[in-house]
Amino acid sequence: MSRYDKITNNIDWGLLATAGAIMIIGLLCLYSAVRVSQISIFFKQIMWIFTGVMIMSIVFAVDYHFHMRSAWPLYILMVFGLMLVLVVGREISGAKRWLSLGPLGLQPSELAKIVIIIWMAYWGERKVQSEGYGLKELMIPALFILIPVGLILAEPDLGTAGIVALIAVIMLLLLGINRPTFVMLSAVFVSILPFAWLSLKDYQRNRILTFLDPSRDPLGSGYHATQSKIAVGSGGLWGKGFLEGTQTQLSFLPEHHTDFIFSVVAEELGFAGSALLILLYMILITKIIQIGLKAKDRFGAMICFGIAGYFVLHVFINISMAMGIFPVVGVPLPFVSYGGSFMFMNLICIGLVLNVSWRRFMF
């Protein structure tokens, strides 16, 4: 067996194929969504995918223990980026989420999702506690998670901040928290909910209230939810056909190339297409968990679990939002929604998982 064969045989091709299949469905639907008015978005997305695959290859090629050693530099870079965006960020409709690098716009908050995974895995690798962590041990990760979460909330970007926090919580639960601490923290969480509610911005609060009762605001955010539901439901079993979706083509939904792209999938490809897409995500995520279990060290395993959490949160929140069972928050659909930073992050995640998977054979 040549050295080349050894390298290629140990790559998890199944994982790559699953991600690739999702991206193809995504591109088809993106084309359908933007072809009338903004076709340039479609070509840009192809460019992001190509660039993203190159970045993924680099992430894959470097031994992931290098990524582990980079946890602190990456963390500092992320905090710097998040602070920078608050100062010099490009303001798009009131929120400062974008850094302009020449023609390129970057979202440091997207970077934060992956850096938090690496940093948490690094922390977990070094802090082993067989009975699970107590309150004292949890102080450190709590502090270092709250810094980026707070900075993202300041942009403001509630959806992303929530995702970062939830990824960290999932990873901490997997690392283990001892029972009394767990019970106490759950109690504290429940009791601060009312205060969190009060600290939300009016429009955010309205969105949640509208979600609970769409008739409250059938014209504002309730309108999006209603139109998205009509799009999904009217797809039926086989869909209206590619480029045939009336809701999509008549632009009832203003953000159908980003946050509401799932309604395009569901409307045009029907239950057959959207269930296939959901199954593909499920295969992708369970594969990632399996790779994590077979990793050769805690760091590798935690990276995979974190990434599995990352994907499951995005997929679940985005799709349930499109189907009207979750409030409208700005959470995109991995590999499908339009966006450069987000596409890069998804592919970096795949690169990391492949890396962990491939190096379990290395001694």
Partner: protein, 608 residues
Amino acid sequence: MNHNIPGQHVEEEFRSKAKYLTVFVCLLFAILLLRLTSMQIFKGTYYEGLARNNRMRIVSIPAQRGKILDRNHEILADSRPAYNVMVIPEDIRNISEISKRLARILDRDEKEIAEMIKEAKLRPFRPVYIARDISFTQMAMIENQLYSLPGISIDTSNERDYVSRGLATHVLGFLGEISHKELSAADPDSDYAPGDLIGKTGIELICEEKLRGVKGARAFEVDALGRKMRVVDEQSPISGEDVVLTIDKRLQLIAKQSLGDRAGAVVAIAPSTGEILAMASSPCYDPTVFLSPMTSEAWKQIIDNPMHPLENRAIRGVYSPGSTYKVLMAALALTDGYITTKTRYHCPGKYTLGNTVFKCWRKEGHGSVDLIDAMCVSCDVYFYNLGERIGINRMSSFVRDLGLGRKTGIELKDESAGLVPTVAWKRKRFGQPWHKGESVITAIGQGFTLVTPLQMAKVMSSVVNGGKIMTPRILASTPEHLEGNVKIGEEELDIIKAGLRAVVDEERGTAHVIMDPMFSIGGKTGTAQVAKGYVSKLPDEADIPYKLRDHAWFFGFSPVENPEILVVAILEHGGHGASIAAPIVRDVIKGYYYSKGLTDEQVRQDNQ
């Protein structure tokens, strides 16, 4: 690595936890699949029906814009209902037929209307205005024919009504359709949409957020032909808040009327607080022309008008200060101890510096004059002497401290900073050294110095109120702001005021014509040379005004003892200050006393 069987202990540690994670993932995906099944398989036909009959249309209801009120809550800009013709492009089938009908009613070009509809078809569900503010008759005609005009509806909105056409136009500013740039810069919580009106200049611009209010919305169902069937839901708009100005409508009216159709500006200010009581600029424009989309022809006409009617001369026009500048020189020379009341200079009608001769405006000269005489008769030679003694550096730093050469800080946008020349400035601008002769002419307000009428009002206020520099303000809600202090002692202030009073009171004074037995006025005339005389070149070609006659300045304040009002007037190309600008100032001051409700007798007593 030191593990023999890598990964084994990892697998042991995480096996059960990973199982939980997998179950969690499967659970979430099961929810998604269940929901998907229920929506697409079981309720598919229901949603399909909804999609086919997706005939809900949403239009916004504009909020009533807040009023703009004067200090006594008199209305300067009101809101009145207006009717607009709105189309929902998706519901228009036969463009040419509809355009033909509309063109007949609206008396507009058929092709133009068809173009607008075609363009709007790109976003078929976004309502677009075809015509704004149509007449009542036109509205009635359309209402009558609505049934044969599918996709067309009449929509009411609130249009600005500038109650007294032309009054305080430049202060109030105007509204226009929101631009792409403004739209993308708007807050996401705001409800701006293409076609909305937004404040472009003046108060309308700076108080946009307050005045605007929050739009409402109306959802209605249309039938298959796009005819409005019933209103499904409605959200009322929230009216904008009113904005109260420090302006006094009556003084504003006097200022406007006394300017007439001559180009110029008037600013009235309360010297002790910085409140602007009146601010007028002439010539005026009609603010309502910007409300509807303009042809480039009409826009060009306004822009190319040599009189620049859009410009608020009170804050944007820059002029040589002329002899009014002598007041600042007097304050400087007294406070720095260059002179006392007793200091006298001889004026033979000219002043010689090296080879250059500078003339006094009075050929035969004023003879021996002290400061009060010099101010009263506006003797140039007296101030030539001061200019040479004090030098450009100190002159510049003093007037800069008072507020020249920088924006006054009033809430309005697009203020000019004016110009205070310095040695360094001249070297940079012209690459030439400063000449002593330039200091000499600077002292009488000629040369490079440029001021706006508002700057003039600000610095003169601080001279007559004893050196307190108050930031001018025009919104009643802005708190009083003391910017700084220039020490002018009580004794010096009395001398300056005596000189300024002499300008009006004494028969030889340059503004004796406006003397009024009813109240005391102090003031100073000024003549800003436009292009002749000592200066070979103005600082900027673009600043050279359209004609070559002098500008006439006058500033006056009353009562002299304890000034309550200070008025600055400038008339472009008005010739000499006294005869033409001074009466405007007197009229505004008189109006101030009357509007306070004082009778002649009371005013007289107040001014004793």
